[in-house]
Amino acid sequence: MEQIIVNGLFLGASYALIALGLTLIFSLMNVLNFAHGQMYVIGGFITYTVVAQFHLPFVVGLICSAVALAALGAFVERFLFAPVIRRSKREESTMLLAAGIAFFLDAVTLLVFGEKQRGIPKLVPGVFNWDFRIVMPYDRILIGVLAVALIVAFILFMRQSRTGRAMRALAQDRMAAELMGVDVARYSMIGFALGAMLAGLVGGLLVSIVGVNLGMGGPTSIKAFLMIMIGGAGVISGAIAGGFLLGMLESVGLSLLAAYGDITYLVIFASLMIFLAFRPQGLMGKPWG
């Protein structure tokens, strides 16, 4: 049992980071970033390239992933999403754009990094073993701690910094924020860059544990959608709650339902439907207004 909880916490910490990026982008621009999973994959491949091919330290790889993805996010917002939002009659048009970008990033990843499964050597050798009740490799513990640290840093940044405050204002009421003199275009771009950067960072962190391959993008996006539906879209606490909950459910489901075949996600989805029937806005989400 202890083992299941620890596994769930580890999964949850990395899931929550992915969900945070997605929910940030959603709250600022009302855009559902289909390409979030693809950004995660690209982040993973960049860290792999830096660490395994250029033989640089893991931290350098992480920084490269973060910077590259932030630049990508800023570019995508400025030159693709902003013009389409301005010109389209229906705001849903951004979905076509987001899906197009997801396909595009998949294609670029295939051409640049190939279709093989990639991974990097273990960061720390050894396995933590507490009386065979909890068995956890040290590198997983390290990554889990790093993920939690990043979540805390992100929350502090959103609460304390001027940029974070501007973005929270923007998420609350775009028009009011604009009237109060917040540079909406600038902070939308920063927010998108930050969201993409988080996706890339998680990709970089997890490449040392689960590796990375081309096909991971779509399923990762779907998991991220699940998390923010559980927690409530556009709410930071909701993304964290959703991430940890999904991680825990997956961990429990995999060990309890293993006898019945691969039905964990089926059960999770069925429960989600029932849950949403009672609480359509998720755990922490605001009711429609």
Binding site: L80, P83, L96, G100, A107, F225, M229, L266, P280, Q281
Partner: protein, 323 residues
């Protein structure tokens, strides 16, 4: 008058023009492509209807898969004629849509889209896990559609005994497509269409003046899923097989993209969108490994140039000329 003529010209091209051209050029492979386009555009028509009530449906793949499996199981296990399973597949999907739709249609905007997207993935997982679907091996060697006759008079011949089943499949798919769009077109011009539009504009306002929004949105979703089921069942019988991977998340997204590309404000938008996207993808096959790159670049470009769909192009050009 002009409308009647253009409809007649369209039908003439579909039923006589295309088969004639194919016979002349000998490109028999086009039949399969065009049959696929016709069937997929039925699914897209369903997605368009959910757009019409203001919802973004990225779950059509789930219903296409469900419809396909219903048809496949009824044909192979119960020995029912394909022509009888076709409406049954549609009805099964419509019933499923009512069950699933009642809770999830309370969600709005992006929330609804996310649930429907997850639904596609869940459909694939169910197909893998349920005992009746035969798991990852799928259901294969499904027989061709049998004969339909009334009092000894053959209405639809047995496809297995036909000289050219490809043409027969093409005619079947095109007929189904015409029926689906006729229903859609009639629907948008009816009282029900007005009510659906009121949901698209403002659900709360519609509810406040006595429109039963809960009933209407489930109805629209059920019709939409019915079309998805028909498309799936049609696909099963032309490919004579179905696997859990026959309709995936990418297919659901494509159904949605078809509608966007054609134009959400036009009934025939999804048909054009399906044709352009499917043919575009096939034509780019020559580009080999750059196929996906070019395709997605074109999609993004289309979004930047014509954000309201291809059919909005004439109005856009006229608008520019007038200024």
């Amino acid at each position: 008058m002009i409308r009647a003529l253009s409809v007649a010209a369209f039908l003439l091209a579909l039923y006589i023009g295309v088969p004639g051209l194919i016979a002349l050029t000998g490109r028999w492979d086009f039949y399969y492509t065009l049959t696929s386009v016709a069937l997929l555009s039925i699914g897209s028509a369903g997605v368009w209807l959910t757009f019409y009530i203001g919802r973004i449906n990225i779950g059509q793949g789930a219903y296409a898969l469900a419809g396909g499996y219903v048809a496949a199981i009824l044909i192979t296990k119960a020995g029912i004629n394909f022509w009888a399973t076709l409406p049954l597949a549609g009805l099964f999907c419509a019933g499923l849509a009512v069950l699933i739709g009642l809770p999830i249609l309370r969600l709005r905007g992006v929330y609804f889209s996310m649930v429907t997207l997850v639904l596609t993935e869940v459909a694939r997982l169910s197909a893998l896990a349920l005992p009746i679907t035969n798991g990852a091996r799928g259901i294969t060697s499904i027989p061709l559609p049998g004969e339909v006759s009334v009092f000894g008079l053959t209405l639809i011949p047995d496809f297995a005994r036909l000289e050219n089943p490809k043409l027969a499949f093409y005619l079947m798919a095109v007929t189904l497509m015409c029926l689906a769009y006729l229903v859609l077109w009639r629907l948008t011009r009816s009282r029900l269409g007005h009510l659906f539009r009121s949901l698209q504009q403002n659900e709360d306002l519609a509810a406040s003046i006595g429109v039963n929004i809960a009933l209407l949105r489930v109805l629209a979703y059920a019709i939409s899923s019915f079309m998805g089921g028909i498309a799936g069942a049609g696909f099963v019988v032309i490919s004579q097989s179905i696997y859990p991977s026959s309709f995936q998340v990418a297919d659901s997204v494509n159904f949605m993209l078809n509608c966007f590309l054609g134009g959400l404000g036009f009934v025939f938008g999804p048909m054009l969108g399906t044709l352009v996207l499917y043919f575009g993808w096939s034509l780019l096959f020559a580009a080999a490994k750059y196929q996906m790159l070019i395709y997605s670049t074109l999609l993004i470009a289309a979004m930047l140039v014509v954000p309201n769909g291809l059919l909005s192009l004439p109005a856009m050009l006229r608008g520019k000329g007038g200024k």
